[in-house]
């Protein structure tokens, strides 16, 4: 039987959102850097979306959001990614969540692969803290792709795994009586 080609496709946005006037707020990183971002971009983060909703519900003016567990450099990367995806339908990221074969759009592929591994690690960790599903998906998939075709030794180096293999074992706990 002829094998099927890779049919993993990225879900298409259902309907384009009508563009609304940008609502800019300040975002402060853990090391005191203050950046500016469109609220629509920040809404990609479930964590920040909840905070913003809290302000809106109480009709309090939102001037500055504090992100206590992300440093300025990484926060800038996060906001750059969010800005690029602020028009995305959140259902796309949810649909791709935990899927093995996801398609990484070219902009994201370029954005993530150009980063040194250390920065990519910080970005994924920040995405985890801020609960940005799409960025987690693409970040993790990029890490997996970076391991493609690597030998054990290269992987140990890539992932910073210092522990050498110890005594070889034939025990699978499945051979025992």
């Amino acid at each position: 039987m002829a094998p099927k080609k890779n049919s993993a496709k990225r879900p298409q946005p259902s309907t384009p959102k009508p563009s609304a006037p940008a609502r800019i707020v300040k975002v402060q990183s853990s090391d005191g850097h203050i950046l500016q971002a469109d609220v629509r971009a920040l809404l990609l983060s479930s964590t920040l979306a909840a905070t913003i909703k809290g302000y809106d519900d109480e009709n309090k003016p939102l001037e500055k959001l504090e992100v206590n567990n992300v440093v300025g450099f990484t926060l800038k990367l996060v906001l750059e990614w969010c800005e690029k995806h602020k028009e995305d339908d959140p259902a796309i990221a949810q649909a791709e969540k935990d899927k093995k074969n996801i398609f990484i759009p070219s902009w994201d592929r370029h954005f993530l692969t150009k980063l040194p591994m250390g920065n990519l690690f910080d970005l994924i960790t920040a995405a985890y803290h801020l609960d940005i599903t799409g960025l987690i998906n693409y970040g993790c998939k990029t890490v997996a792709n970076s391991a493609k075709g690597k030998s054990t030794e290269e992987m140990r180096e890539l992932f910073g795994i210092p522990e050498p293999w110890e005594q070889p074992s034939t025990s699978t706990a499945t051979w025992d009586d």
């Binding site: 996801i102 960790t125 690597k150 180096e157 005594q167 034939t170």
Partner: protein, 389 residues
């Protein structure tokens, strides 16, 4: 600068590993013991795993998913050739040795590799072990096989080869060996195309005939520890040949504990007792009583709780050595993992055991043991054993 994969949030690194194909995941699993355990924890299963035995190697085929569901043909199948040395030759369907040199592990023998692959893909056994006509007994004698529910032979295999293989793999290795490295089916069913002498298959093993010879024979094998195994040898030409290209020569019965419930086994209960006495080439006798004796076992761990467990054993044999003693566990809880065993409670067991692969001495709960599994120390309140297998 490396990406500290293992420092990522658990969910994220699990997702990252899940995105890897089998070849990359195998390379990752070989990085360290920790990475191996992480790979196992993904619970990734291949659609099909099978092993074929050739002249001096075993080919392990890992097929990721059904062809109808395949996303990427290049990543769907991995064929791995293993022998008794450290030589490993993985290659894809197209024959290109893409994985060659990726999984270098000079300290691994073929047996280690096989165990590793089964372990990381959470296979309790090779579902089908196929013997080809090229197979040589000399190789079978040096390669340790995992358990398999189905053993198949190529049509061209000689009767002599079938007899030798069945005798070695099913009767000797899978059952009669007492070092607990091999699994113990409750029964073995042989469906043969041609008549093969049971005497030759069970050569050197003590058995009794329960039924036969009209439709074949039913044998009962008994080990020195009183555990029994039934072996049925039947002619299956009419039934088997019309269904299968390669006939099954040996299949463990589905009802057996080892096959049907590979993940779990719970046995024991309240007020348990048993005894046995046998005189053959020595004396084998034991008696045991417990108010409560419950054990639970799966492939990773085993646990046992015993209350007021008392017993005595007296075993002398010129082949098996000496094993005498008194078990006196007022209360005991034991947990056994892959690399260790720990027990606690209050035990005053006393005894001595000198057997070819096992030495154990204990006096009123104090003692030590040493066998093929590892080394252990005991005091009445605690016992620890470190396993190197």
């Amino acid at each position: 600068m490396p990406i500290r994969l293992l420092s990522l949030p658990t969910k994220d690194f699990q997702y990252t590993l899940n995105c890897m194909n089998d070849g990359d995941l195998i390379a990752f699993s070989l990085c360290s013991k920790h990475s191996k355990n992480l790979t196992k924890s993904l619970n990734r299963k291949n659609w099909k795993t099978r092993a074929r035995v050739f002249e001096d190697s075993v080919q392990l085929d890992l097929i990721v998913c059904r062809y109808e569901e395949v996303q990427n043909q290049d990543e769907n199948e991995i064929y791995i050739s293993l022998d008794t040395s450290s030589r490993i030759e993985p290659y894809r369907d197209c024959g290109v040795a893409t994985e060659m040199n990726r999984w270098r592990k000079p300290e691994f023998t073929g047996t280690h590799w096989l165990a590793h692959f089964l372990s990381i893909f959470n296979e309790s056994m090779v579902p089908v072990l196929k013997i080809t006509r090229e197979c040589k007994m000399a190789f079978l004698n040096t390669f340790i096989f995992p358990k398999c529910p189905i053993l198949r032979f190529e049509r061209e295999c000689t009767n002599e080869l079938i007899e030798q293989c069945v005798s070695k793999l099913s009767a000797e290795h899978l059952w009669m060996m007492s070092n607990h490295r091999f699994y113990r089916p409750k029964s073995i069913q042989l469906n043969l195309m041609e008549r093969i002498s049971g005497d030759r298959i069970l050569k050197g093993i003590r058995y009794e005939i329960l039924d036969g010879p009209r439709y074949g024979f039913l044998y009962r094998l008994k080990r020195a520890d009183e555990k029994e195994l039934e072996v049925s040898i039947r002619l299956g030409r009419d039934v088997i040949s019309s269904k299968m290209k390669n006939y099954e020569a040996c299949e463990t019965e589905n009802k057996s504990v080892a096959c049907e419930v590979p993940g779990d086994k719970i046995d024991g209960g309240v007020i348990c007792g048993n005894s046995n006495f046998e005189i053959d080439e020595g004396i084998n006798s034991s008696a045991n009583f417990a108010i409560l004796d419950v054990s639970h076992r799966d492939h990773e761990h085993s646990k046992r709780l015993a209350v007021a467990n008392f017993g005595a054993k007296l075993n002398f044999s010129k082949n098996d050595g000496v094993d005498v003693g008194i078990d006196a566990d007022l209360v005991r809880y034991a947990y056994e993992g892959e690399n260790f065993k720990v027990g606690t409670g209050l035990s005053y067991s006393t005894g001595i055991k000198f057997q070819p692969e096992s030495v154990k001495i204990q006096v009123l709960g104090y003692g030590f043991e040493y066998d093929n599994d590892g080394f252990g120390l005991k005091i009445p309140l605690l016992d620890l054993k470190f396993k190197w297998w």
